[in-house]
Symmetry: C2
Subunit: 386 residues, 2 copies
């Protein structure tokens, strides 16, 4: 890690530690956004996304847009649903509430199906909800970063196709793309939106989406124009298509350095079968979750099938709150995140284990963090007389 | 320029050549977006923007958001004007049409006051238009990158305050902030929106705005909620205020590396009086424009007072089009841009002269480009038998 100054190991659920080569791409020299060199880089980046999402359907369409992951919600809300139409939002934490708020900003009616903290809505509940009224879209947070709960998007998509085939299946994959299995075509997904700074391993600043041909068609047959300018698919679709076909086109200046970094990151990720990448994340996750259990600690996500593979939300025992243990971790050079779920924020901490921290065999980030967790936890208990 | 690989000199009207230190900041190691180190960097960056915009009014509010400059139009359209309200758009090229389109996406009624190509609407015309109906906002492209036309925003703002004091003065400063004088408080401006990749000298990917207290108040007294989620001031205002006050807050993950680069760039810019920076850009512009005249070439902006100081739009003589001369420039290591104004795109070329290319005395970018222009122009004429 020679090019990076010594720093604490960042093991929050994003941004994550970055590979040297990715960071070097961030300092790429100035380049015209419509010149042939950048056109090639951007076009290849879009094609590499198809590989990451395991889609070979030519009707599927990748988008890379300057913005945070949040922008992806606006792109869905402004283009794929119209004022007064219904959205079913599966809620597994903070990000369900936020997605619903984004949809409502554009006049959609968002119905949330909420699970208890640490759980996810059951398929039977989702089926019942889908039969109540025709939903234009259903949204699923693949991994809710606030709880570490993993949703079974394959099963939900199957259910939707069976009981409400016109409903678009929209996956918030901000904390899942690059670490959890996603088989875009085979699972019949319509939208997966994500951001650059989590398991894709590129600095923050890119909103990334994959849309199915069905989603593009829903957009094209809207009764009203898109309810945004910057988030309008009408403005971005020709740009993405032209760059991928090798020609420049202008709507807004793309973030050239971030696109270079994404290109570097995706080239590395897709150089091996993505299934291997998912398996490595599962192994690291198993190791972390075993260590957490060994300490007598529990997770917010109690059922194994609900547990994300790239982060662990660790519930603290009574008498301890996040500020009691995070400084002890930091003292040992490890940065975890505090809680985010508003009802229980101080009562848990979050350990992100994704990207180079788990895939680079030269790094000992996870083993080191487990040791730090054991020590900091013991120290915190002792300080509180527990 | 040791850290940058050898490359052609980028002299388009943005992105521009970047300083080594700025590019090094782009590869900053991973950092938590809510950790104290980044909070300090982001907070200082917002404060430095106040200095660049020459505002000391505590009610003025800077914003730095992940996105391209285009996002600034959405922020204006979704927050400062409501469905059915009127906007007066002063048109000096391509970007007037685009700003009008952005406003109309949100249901505003945009009336464009168009000048002939290369000119700008006259104050008397603007005054007459303002007296016709109550406009919620007036938008002015400070420098229209498609034509190189400079608008007199100080005079327009004075006029608005006199004849239509409730109208918000909104300046598109994408190609002017950092190179053209802007005295935010003294001139009574309400919004200046810009992007990172032009005269601010930071890679693309940041939407930057300064809003007056009056603009914030117009937002706060809206009758309807903001018509966007990602572009909602309601979501971003508390974030900006908290970071500048030294506390973290979360709405969407900020682009940490780009913010570091902006911090580096703004620290360098504001280390000297900004008036010196504007003067250096004027000197470089005078040199370029004299060289253009010496070649017998004219500018799209024919009147000296209409001419931008950070770019020159050079009209080609009959018989020559942009593809006849751009390759000759490239052969000499210089990248200019082609035309962008749809009515005359092939008939002119654009030479950007801003940022380190004019402020760094060790660089000979402008002198080199003038020599290249002379040679490539002679070569192109010869090839066409002119």
């Amino acid at each position: 890690m020679s090019s990076q100054a010594a720093h604490n190991t960042l093991l929050i659920p994003g941004p994550i530690e970055f590979d040297d080569a990715v960071l070097q791409s961030m300092s790429h020299y100035a380049e015209s956004h419509v010149g042939p060199a950048f056109v090639k880089t951007f076009g290849e980046t879009l094609t590499l996304l198809r590989k990451l999402f395991q889609t070979t359907d030519p009707a599927a369409q990748p988008f890379v847009i300057s913005g945070s992951g949040t922008l992806g919600w606006d792109i869905v809300a402004a283009n794929l649903i119209e004022r007064g139409e219904d959205a079913l939002v599966l809620h597994t934490g903070y990000f369900g509430d936020s997605f619903a708020a984004a949809l409502e900003s554009y006049g959609a009616k968002a119905t949330q199906l909420k699970a208890p903290i640490g759980d996810r809505p059951q398929l039977s509940e989702i089926e019942a909800a889908l039969k109540e009224k025709p939903y234009k879209i259903i949204t699923i947070t693949h991994v809710d970063t606030s709880t570490g709960v993993l949703s079974d998007i394959k099963a939900v998509a199957e259910l939707v196709r069976r009981v409400s085939p016109d409903t678009l299946v929209v996956v918030d994959g901000v904390c899942s793309v690059g670490c959890e299995e996603i088989d875009f075509d085979a699972w019949g997904l319509d939208v997966v939106l994500t951001a650059s700074q989590k398991a894709i391993g590129c600095p923050p600043g890119l909103s990334i989406l994959m849309l199915s041909g069905r989603a593009i068609n829903v957009f094209k047959t809207r009764k009203t124009p898109p309810a945004s300018y910057y988030a309008s698919i009408a403005n971005w679709l020709p740009i993405m298509q032209k760059y991928e076909a090798g020609s420049p086109s202008y709507f807004a200046t793309p973030p050239t350095q971030l696109v270079h970094a994404l290109h570097t990151s995706l080239s590395s990720i897709t150089a091996k079968p993505v299934s291997e990448r998912f398996a490595i994340h599962t192994q690291a996750s198993d190791k972390v979750k075993a260590a957490v259990a060994e300490l007598g600690l529990t997770q917010l996500a109690t059922k194994p099938e609900n547990q994300a593979h790239a982060m662990t939300a660790i519930r603290l025992p009574e008498g301890l709150i996040a500020p009691d243990i995070l400084p002890g971790l930091l003292k040992r050079g490890v940065v975890f995140a505090g809680g985010l779920h508003k009802e229980i924020a101080p009562l848990y901490i979050r350990f992100g284990h994704m990207g180079v921290s788990v895939t680079d065999p030269n790094r000992k980030d996870i083993d080191g963090a487990i040791v730090a967790l054991k020590e900091a936890y013991a120290e915190a208990r002792k300080a509180k007389g527990l």
